[in-house]
Point group: C2
Chain length 315, copies 2
Amino acid sequence: MPIPDLNTIQLAAERIRPYIHKTPVLSSTGINEITGGNIFFKCENMQKAGAFKSRGACNAVFSLTEDQLKKGVGTHSSGNHAQALARAASLRNTDAFIVMPETSPKVKVAAVKAYGGKITFCKPTLQAREETLYTIISNTGALEIHPYNDYRIIAGQATAAMEMLEVMGKADIIMAPVGGGGLLSGTALSTKYLSPETIVIAAEPEMADDAYRSFHEGRLIPSESPATIADGLLTSLGSLTYPIITEYVDDIVTVSEEGIIRAMRLIWERMKIVIEPSAAVPLAAILEKKVDVEGKTVGIILSGGNVDLDSLPWL
Amino acid sequence: MPIPDLNTIQLAAERIRPYIHKTPVLSSTGINEITGGNIFFKCENMQKAGAFKSRGACNAVFSLTEDQLKKGVGTHSSGNHAQALARAASLRNTDAFIVMPETSPKVKVAAVKAYGGKITFCKPTLQAREETLYTIISNTGALEIHPYNDYRIIAGQATAAMEMLEVMGKADIIMAPVGGGGLLSGTALSTKYLSPETIVIAAEPEMADDAYRSFHEGRLIPSESPATIADGLLTSLGSLTYPIITEYVDDIVTVSEEGIIRAMRLIWERMKIVIEPSAAVPLAAILEKKVDVEGKTVGIILSGGNVDLDSLPWL
């Protein structure tokens, strides 16, 4: 299967349209004054299941035939992909087997259960997660849907930037956070297909900078004990996302933990919307002057809004 | 001056259009499932200065001539009207004299200052607020712009329901919170002019139930030591808002403090938007079964989003 082309992304958009929100694109006079840019925010925090992950999960699950889906789908995830996959599977009346670390926040476990996901807990290591999933898949015959290293997922995530560009018309810069690279590779593909002169910049926490190092050193370097408040960005780039990012992304910058918290709070205060720390990373890069937006039209994908309201990072 | 008619409200909408946001109308599958209704939320939390108050303040200030504005405008307010008036005055390049109780939260004082308001602090009693404002007005010649007991303010606030009805098309019930009654009277006028068969229901905290008692006892009863987390709803109905509410509102119900917090959190969690406690009061009434929305199309005005992120009510 080749890298998703424009037609593949447009087909993904058609396929998932009935099952996702066309999320709003908002802006804030106050944030524009602070940054000097003309910034548009694509509110994937308001997406179904609270994150852009519903796009990829729906595209993957709705690409499968009834027969392929008979034994269900599976993944290991402590985060937004778990919820999104559980929801997509329930829309197709099939099982979602979700392996979650036993340390997962209760609120995330409850959300996966609410969408009908069948949860198996495991020790909080990558090895335990992969082994547990392997066992489940062997026993059930379920299909694995990887959170990002899958072209169907990438094509689904690409639809967010496509919708944003439709609203913006013209953009000097498009920004997204980067974890495993599913959102970033999709965003870069859509942007370069639809608006080749637009610069694509990713932002990543300093404390989980595998994409930054991989991009700048020119080889795939996995994450080593990442520790950031941006819990959606702990994963490493994959074998499918890394090459797309190398070819289609113009730059990757990193931000401090304090910068993420400050940007997150600024968006809550000025825009009156709830975003999770990962979603604040691109604005943090602007506030920390890692990206110059003076006089520029900028689109930022706010990746998600799933945050524990009982423990906010500034408290 | 007579009660604002439809033409007056439409003129207010024209007048304020360049200075306010046409705020989004959002809905939530999750909240619809919980309540059994088909609920639309008018997001005045995303309004300029964070609340519907910008509508009334802009309508009042932009109704005045250069000459009338020469000596500035004034009000006493610890809340959203103060910010909205300071902003509206600065748009007309005139002074806003704002009397605030010395106990006002720092965040609200800072917001008024950011819009260029000239603050005078006073003791936190209604008498001190009124006397301080009277002195300032006597000394400066500024015009008082009352937060709600003013037809220009009421006509401005009425534009929120008008916009919501445009988006909804048809509504069985329209709901708003009630404090001084500016938003509620405007909402009731717009609704009954544009959609006479729609029921208008107000919701009020039990702990500040002067409007509830006034409405049901048929006489204007002032608030007595109200004490609710919904800090936008502490004021009493006015001589202009009470008669409109008596004539145009179908019912007023009350809700518990726990209900307000629960509804507020539900909106944050499910809709990923930041609202203040006052804005949660109508949904609280639905969750507490004070209003039956089963199978009904309901519009709720989310009045504002100015909340201190350092002290959330559920923490």
